[in-house]
């Protein structure tokens, strides 16, 4: 069974995503900010990290950068990182969330609100 980590500060979004992933056959670990995500990835090997972007304490972009740097220089196994955030439809104002996610080391992006279909496609792509 693949190990999935959900990094999300909103209890509502955790409830929804967790239930969707359960219906798709997965139990997951949950942490609530970027610092907890870095600690979690240090303790356990994950196949997939679903990382919310906007979080308190440490946001998802910074957490991903940190985790990537440890993966490249340390002994951590590389997990697929998928950014999840409200879709920014601002085109080229430098604040495009999708572009920032990729620039900070994420492999993919799922737009909020998260749906069954989006999650299913993500899992099929990265956890075949």
């Amino acid at each position: 069974m693949p190990n999935i980590l959900l990094v999300e500060d909103s209890k509502i979004n955790v409830m929804v995503a967790q239930s969707m992933l359960k219906q798709l056959g997965h139990t997951i670990d949950v942490v609530n900010n970027g610092v907890e995500a870095v600690c979690a990835v240090q303790k356990r090997s994950y196949d997939l990290v679903l990382m919310d972007v906007c979080m308190p304490v440490m946001d998802g972009l910074q957490a991903t950068r940190l985790i990537r740097s440890f993966e490249e220089t340390g002994n951590w196994d590389a997990a697929v990182k998928v950014g999840i955030e409200q879709d920014s439809s601002q085109p080229d104002d430098g604040k495009c969330v999708v572009r920032e996610c990729y620039a900070n080391g994420m492999d993919s992006f799922v737009s909020k609100p998260v749906t069954f279909q989006n999650l299913k496609e993500c899992l099929e792509q990265y956890l075949p």
């Binding site: 909103s10 209890k11 509502i12 979004n13 409830m15 929804v16 239930s19 969707m20 219906q23 906007c54 409200q86 909020k112 609100p113 998260v114 749906t115 069954f116």
Partner: protein, 154 residues
Amino acid sequence: MEVVQIQRNLVDYTKSLFMEGFLDGQFLQLQQLQDESNPDFVAEVVSLFFDDSQKLLNELTIALDQPIVDFKKVDAHVHQLKGSSSSIGAQKVKNACIAFRNFCEVQNIEGCLTCLQQVKLEYYLAKNKFETLFRLEQQIVASGGSIPMIEMGF
């Protein structure tokens, strides 16, 4: 009233909430997550949303009442409210948040205050609608019936 009639009332009421823009397709996603192992899922998530939202609205009221408004902080709260409302399909609340964020970005205090009132209004309207919805569901269950699923083809 017969359970069949209450079920019809529930279907019609739910459809009206979609037609009037209170709900969007994300609500149907939530309904799909409700099953025998999780029979109160929708009510639990919606209840959590309203508790959370009330706190956020209180924080926003305080933040916008400061002599020097921290628009980043205000925007962060609105962002959170927009996210959670969109996660449960509360479309009008979500849309009110979108307008709110635009005023945060340009640091327009008057616009923000107007938007806060609008978000509060949409929040109370949505709360009222959901309470009616859950009351109908409870009547159906109390009468021994099952909650009908809403088809998207309407």
